[in-house]
């Protein structure tokens, strides 16, 4: 057996340095390409989220890194060593599984100690590190409980402690919060984020929940049908979606389809000057970028249009309007709560908020 760095010290590489590198990774099951030519770098200390619908290949990508599957093409590198040729038990990577996968025949303490025991860590060291990991997830009082005696959230914490105790360089989390109810989920999200900041381990987090991805991540890698759609910070993905798919998947948006002719964009009833070449275009315009026009005056960089309110959905602090602008064009508009509206109104949006996206 090669000398695997089973217990590297925490933060052994500088924050921000390249930790994991996926080079043109592909995975094929039978005739289906589940992952197509994925190239992605993960920096040390980063919280990167793989976001995608079910079947987009995000879990498969995680399993390739953990070693439960072999890539059909491409390479995975970590800290100057090739990872994809190694069996899972030799990789300096740990996984938090979707349904926790705690060992039912071991109590919480023995579950946490498992990784240290199989690597023949001295018993004196195990005790200390297990206690440390248990207190990190606030579960010291449950050390003697069997998994069946713990609630979902508590099992989740033990699963987390079981990986953290090994001081992995990279922690893989496969939809770890999806089995929890909504309130607990929110609470665990913020604890997870705080824990990741505190211990500085690199997190690769898989989820299909775009809100969760936005709230937790340093960067989001959006997967669509096995290919990377966009990799950027949550703010950038939201403000500058590269494609129509990204714009619709992350938050709500209005997709304006039209064309540019002579530096003038025409999308249904809306027209405004743009700095684009002639041809068909799609713009993404977020509902909150549109507002009610104040008494006819408008700035030079604003587009004004008139529309009839078809539907008004009250949402507490805001209202979601569905507005018919003619030409079979309906826009969704989010405005601060203002009481019931009816009939036709003038609306404006800033030209810079209409983001050109690819199909």
């Amino acid at each position: 057996m090669s000398a695997s760095p089973a217990n590297p010290p925490l933060q052994n590489s500088a924050k921000g340095a390249l930790l994991l590198e996926l080079r043109n990774v592909g995975k094929r099951f039978g005739a289906t390409d589940v992952l197509k030519n994925i190239s992605l770098n993960i920096a040390s200390g980063e919280f990167l989220t793989l976001l995608g619908e079910s079947g987009s290949g995000k879990t498969t990508l995680l399993r390739l890194i953990a070693g439960f599957e072999r890539p059909s093409s491409g390479e995975i590198w970590m800290g100057g060593r090739r990872l994809d040729c190694q069996p899972p038990y030799k990789r300096p990577v740990n996984t938090v599984f979707q349904n926790y996968a705690l060992f039912p025949h071991l109590n919480a303490r023995d579950n946490v100690a498992y990784g240290l025991r199989v690597k023949s860590t001295p018993a004196s060291e195990i005790t200390g590190r297990v206690e440390e990991a248990l207190s990190m997830v606030k579960m010291r009082g449950f050390a003697a409980s069997r998994p069946s005696q713990l609630s979902g959230g508590q099992q989740q914490r033990i699963a987390l402690a079981r990986t953290l105790v090994n001081h992995p360089q990279l922690l893989l989390l496969d939809e770890p919060l999806s089995a929890l109810d909504a309130n607990l989920r929110k609470q665990m999200q913020s604890e997870l984020k705080a824990l990741q900041r505190q211990i500085g381990i690199t997190f690769l987090f898989v989820t299909h929940d775009q809100e969760e991805a936005m709230a937790l991540s340093d960067r989001i890698a959006l997967l669509r049908d096995g290919a990377l759609e966009q990799v950027a910070s949550p703010r950038e993905v939201y403000a500058r979606p590269a494609t129509a798919y990204t714009a619709q998947f992350i938050g709500q948006t209005n997709l304006l389809r039209g064309e540019v002719r002579g530096c003038m964009a025409t999308c249904g009833a809306l027209r405004w000057p743009v700095d684009e070449a002639d041809g068909p275009v799609i713009f993404s315009l977020r509902p909150e970028a549109i507002r009610l026009a104040a008494d006819g005056k408008r700035q030079t960089n604003e587009v004004k249009f008139r529309g009839a309110i078809r539907q008004q959905l009250y949402g507490g602090s805001s209202e979601l309007l569905e507005v018919d602008c003619g030409n079979d064009q309906t826009l969704r508009i989010r405005i601060p709560a203002c009481g019931p509206l009816t009939g036709e109104h003038d609306f404006v949006f800033s030209m810079s908020d209409a983001i050109r996206v690819q199909e």
Partner: protein, 281 residues
């Protein structure tokens, strides 16, 4: 809620079954064990003499001990065959799983007697095995101890009971969630460590059930020793059979049967207790 009449009606068949086929025979057996035979006639005279004979005559203890040894050997041998087989089918086989499973189970459909005679044919002095050994010039005359020995009994019973051991172990292995095995690997355990620390403990209920099957069924077997056992391979059930037959000493035979029943029931309780100890969920 079901009516009281309905409840009592549906409970009649099982109660009848238990009464006629279990309680009544056991009561009769126990009653017989307390009677005696005088001048070739059974007399209904209540006494404990049969049990005294059982404990004072070393012959019975010797046969019982041999029976236990044979049953123990069968258990160990069928576990050593059945567990790897179940492991292989549960974890290693891909596409042909169903077929291989059927191949393991199919011998159960073949009559016990036919399989016994088959072993006679294989192990006998002019049997297949001796013929083969002589053909290879490994031996020059037939090897005698193959047939009519405890070895032959263990071999035949192992062959017959391995599928019984295989089935519960296979079921237990199939029920181990696969993420647990991945989690073990992920935490740094090699295949061997995963087997000892996760798979074996979690398959323990199946293993215990299989071992109980093999031991208890072997304990009461009388056909295998009859067919391939010979005088040195006689087991306790053969003694019971001869007491009920040629020897015409039903009371003593019944007393031995009660003894075997007590051993069997204690084993079943022990096995159930242990299985509960190892059941997690």
């Amino acid at each position: 809620m079901y009516s009281r009449t309905y409840k009592s009606l549906v409970s009649i068949p099982p109660l009848l079954w238990v009464g006629v086929f279990l309680l009544l025979p056991y009561t009769l057996m126990f009653a017989h064990s307390l009677w005696a035979v005088r001048d070739g006639v059974m007399v209904h005279q209540w006494n404990w003499d049969n049990y005294k004979t059982l404990f004072s005559n070393p012959l019975y203890a010797e046969v019982l001990l041999r029976t236990m040894r044979i049953a123990g050997s069968v258990t160990v041998c069928s576990l050593l065959l059945g567990y790897p087989l179940a492991y292989y089918l549960a974890f290693q086989v891909g596409a042909r799983k169903e077929l291989q499973y059927q191949l393991v189970v199919v011998p159960l459909w073949v009559s016990y007697l036919v399989r016994g005679y088959a072993w006679k044919t294989i192990l006998g002095s002019d049997g297949v095995l001796n013929g083969f050994l002589q053909y290879l010039h490994l031996t020059h005359e037939p090897v005698g101890f193959f047939l009519y020995s405890p070895f032959a009994v263990v071999l035949m019973l192992t062959h017959i009971y391995t599928p019984f051991v295989f089935l519960p172990i296979y079921a237990a292995l199939e029920h181990i969630p696969r993420p647990l095995i991945e989690a073990s690997q992920d935490l740094g355990a090699s295949s061997w460590q995963t087997f000892w620390r996760v798979i074996l403990p979690l398959s323990m209920p199946g293993l215990l059930a299989g071992a109980t099957f093999a031991f208890v069924l072997s304990l009461g077997d009388f056909l295998a020793p009859l067919l391939v056992g010979g005088p040195s391979g006689t087991m306790i059930a053969n003694v019971v059979q001869s007491l009920f037959g040629a020897a015409f000493d039903w009371p003593l035979g019944a007393a031995i049967s009660v003894g075997i029943l007590v051993i069997t029931i204690s084993l079943l309780f022990l096995s159930e207790f242990l299985e509960k100890q190892w059941a997690f969920k």
